[in-house]
Symmetry: D2
Subunit: 341 residues, 4 copies
């Protein structure tokens, strides 16, 4: 069976696995107070080019979203997101569970439109009754989005400016950020993100770590007693080293870049082949997810040898499916997939 | 100044005021354990034609919505509502505050469409990923809606059937129910509502009481220890008599019907006059709210002598405004309004 | 039947009832934006001698406690209270419902001891593990306490100083404040409370109003968008006038003082008689609650003609019971009670 | 430096580490739907001797406590625990964060007393005002307790019976359960726990895993849609295999027993030596934690070469400190410690 269903079917990439093994029997302080966490934080600050960025490690994306959003919002505030945003649909109401509404904007291939954002914020404050409504307290974007698409630097600048104008933070969900940074034609760098966002996270789980997301507060704006908030969410690991060691490795010797580049190369190659073979694209993504519209009979045939994601029904006879490449995908996997397509 | 802005500008209607005064110096048990509460409950059970309906009195609509919804949902469930539903927009996130997502459907003059509801529920359970999503745990409708519109009996039956099929309760927000019941051409009665809904409330605040909503559980389905839940929400009045006396009066000598009829008559008369004077309707409501599109200059002129509700901007030169009649509106008020229109 | 069970068995006192009736048919703005609310707030600011005190009206004590505490605490903070504090025991977990722990100190006839408070705060910050613990974020005291006892001015000053040192607000639950202010030997005035506390409320429900508590923020420290927070708690009345009119009356012509004085006089008289008749006191309170230890047979005899509160079992043959006087208690009631004792 | 401060200073034990490495490049389904999770669950069911026990893997103790308690309680219920229980003190209010009060009983070397539990429950229901109080909805015990002590089988039976009588579940926090099961004189087995508790968890983090707790529902009583609840808490790992592989290994070839036995042997040896050297015990524990009272000067001397836990100040000149052994402690470590003592 070939695996193209998602980017978390295997464990850790070799270098991370080696680091976990190598450091395993060292006696280290608990709860993230170890030297690997410190080292990883220093490296992240460096690649972000923000000297006093504050970094915290959490285990997964939903957890990171809930902890960050709940910690930064007042109780009467909600978070603005695309209607397709992960927090809006696929986190089982984890944001509402902590008391906050997700305020949705229409999506454009997974992205929000800055003009619609401006209109939303303007209309809210113009409404005489807004005291009876949920205040917009943050903007949440995914980069890459849930559709694998990317914001341009210009778009991020505009969104960031709008947030500043309304004095609300901009939060970037970077569960797949590594694949966004290494996309072929992107003009958005990690320092750009660190500069334009008030808080973001760099995903480890989908980038070759066993688990882990690195949350970065970029503007001396960490919520007070953030470690206690993490603990209160049940999100503080006793053996915080597990996250520290992995991120320390990801940010050593450009590992994250190599992982990103490898994955993107395979995804681009896949995209080209799909084009050559005249597959119909539902959405052409610059990152590691490709969405095609396929005949149901063909899909069933393919499913015998390849795992992919069912995305949604397209019409009676067609379905949208998704292929995902990752650090774990090999050229050989791709060659075999090509034969089957 | 003429008052047509809303249905809660005055205190209580005369009969309710008299009852409050008359019973004021009686020594009564606290927290709703008094004989007026008991009497009111018995009367409500009778007009609902549900012998074992369980009735509880709360102070306002947002409170009633939050207490009922939070008490009936599991933590992983949300409540389906029209995107224009009061809980979706104008309750400052009171539902999310208690941990639950409001799952919105498109609105049709304030109403949800049963086919869209069916489609939503069907799609949810068909989605392989629904374990990562908020489960639909209840359907919330307003009757009259926030636009003054009404469901037909056929529509309610269809919605009720759909809820039964998916084993989720149907909750009807009746903040203005009295005006819905007395609407000219409605075929929906109070016993119909009691039969078709699992829980609903009958609004007192907008029907001539100082405050108060009567929540009715119709199917032996009161959440366990409901009084404790009310207390936990900060919603239990020490002098519960204040609610008991008012509802006991509302349901004596058909007071609620007389209030409804009076108000609807004036609203119908207003509607006719607006037609005669060729005002352009934004939405023609069968209840006590009328929405018209008016030129801004004319609106400003009118505002000197009449209070009405600004609803929304229609275009550069026009605005949607709302006139509301109530138990407190007099024929004389209407005559004076007619002169000004 | 004579009523000494509590201070909320009757409706409103005559002057408040008259004011409700008199203003009933005035058309007023909703949600507390009416002139009676404004007038009441001005009067409260004046008697508190704090020019810019910010006043908000809520319906009951549990609601006031939940809204104030939840609005002023960070999510990782709890509120310190006596183990006998109303929020610790008799509010069905309303504080925890909003996410906050009640951190309890031993009680001394219902009061906290300032040295134990200091010790608690000192120990907390001295604990190396306090990052894993609930931070003390507020001190809550009741005055009078749940046992009818009062803090001295010196005690309040010491508690207030301690709060300032640790930069946490002092919150005073004044559900029965009127009876504390008018107690015979108290040296604590309303301006003292306004000066020493960061926020407190003046209870209306137990002081002759139908319902209502006036929350006073004394230090330009109202939580941002407090009205939206009230709405979110389901605690905003459409007819806010009902609270405005009542508090406006309570603070006109010294009504609250007259109510307090009348009630305290009767309570003192009752206390003297109980002494004369050699009843054994469980706790001798300076306010409107008296606690005695009575033989069970005698208690049962008494219960035929008098309602009082069962407080707790004392031993096999004795019970602690409570007599409460209020604005509604008359000299005649007391004379009849004396005969029965 | 010798490490006796806690049982989570190193990574994973060798066998678990090997299993992680060995399975790392297998393509497996996400979110716990992989074969290692299935295998681990089957093994746990077997050692528990409960055929249909339902097992779920979470990452840490606080998370397990919050997810289980919040999922099993109604909103108006709290959880009974010893005042020294982990949930009562050292979880940053994670239980209250989800809306529930921790109702505390006195502790006896970390344990609750069944008679005090009975008294608490009896008194609660006997109280006429209990509708205004938090309902006891669960009993939480730690085994071993936070002081390393153990319940006897007789005690567990009595507590279990009491829970059944009041129809509330018994929940056992087994963060260090492996050390409880292997204690020298315990008469409590894993099947006993599975039979007597409604839900418990078996800790991996402190028993040689990198992270992970196995929650076991023993009575066909898993809360509905539990996976969605886990997701909502931000507690669902994409690479659930990481937990599955570790627990599968822990329950293969009696690894957990060997780990427990090794650790207990060293702890017993340490206890004997401390006795021989006439150290004064604060509390003599049958598991892997030993608490002694030591002179401050001696403590400071020791601290140069050994890490241990500061527990609490005993008096001006003495301190209570804790030594912990674990799977990672070696005979050699102990020999060196002995020299220093």
């Amino acid at each position: 069976m070939l695996h193209f269903a998602n980017d978390y079917t295997q464990g850790a990439c070799q270098e991370i696995l080696d680091a976990i093994v190598k450091t395993n029997f060292e006696d280290l302080a608990g709860y993230g107070a170890d030297r690997y966490c410190e080292s990883a934080k220093a490296k992240i600050r460096k690649v972000c080019e923000v000297k006093n960025a504050d970094v915290h490690f959490l285990t997964g994306g939903t957890q990171a979203n809930a902890v960050v959003i709940n910690s930064m919002l007042e109780s009467y505030e909600g978070v603005i997101a695309a209607e397709t945003g992960h927090i809006a649909i696929h986190e089982a109401g984890a944001i509402e569970f902590t008391g906050h509404k997700v305020l949705t904007l229409p999506h454009h291939s997974g992205k929000i439109d800055v003009n619609e954002l401006k209109e939303y914020l303007h209309t809210f404050y113009a409404d005489e009754n807004h005291e009876h409504m949920v205040f917009p307290g943050m903007v949440y974007i995914s980069h890459p989005t849930e559709y694998g698409t990317l914001y341009s630097k210009k778009e991020l600048i505009e969104i960031s400016k709008t947030c500043k104008k309304y004095e609300i933070p901009l939060f970037l969900d970077g569960a797949r950020l590594v694949y966004g940074l290494m996309a072929k034609d992107t003009d958005v760098t990690l320092p750009d993100i660190a500069q334009l966002c008030d808080v973001f996270y760099f995903g480890g789980t989908k980038a070759g770590a066993l688990l882990g997301e690195a949350v970065v507060f970029t503007k001396n704006n960490t919520p007070k007693n953030f470690v206690t908030r993490i603990k209160q969410h049940g999100a503080l690991l006793a053996k915080g080293r597990l996250l520290g060691v992995q991120f320390d490795t990801l940010f050593s010797n450009d590992l994250y870049k190599r992982i990103g580049k490898h994955t993107i190369n395979l995804s681009e190659k896949l995209k080209n082949i799909l084009h050559e073979k005249n597959y119909r694209f539902y959405l052409e993504s610059p990152t590691n997810q490709q969405f095609i519209i396929i005949e149901n009979t063909k899909m069933e045939e393919l499913a015998k040898n390849v795992s992919f994601s069912f995305w949604e029904k397209y019409d009676e006879n067609h379905t949208v499916i998704r292929f995902v490449t990752s650090w774990a995908t090999t050229e050989k996997d791709l060659d075999e997939l090509i034969k089957l397509l």
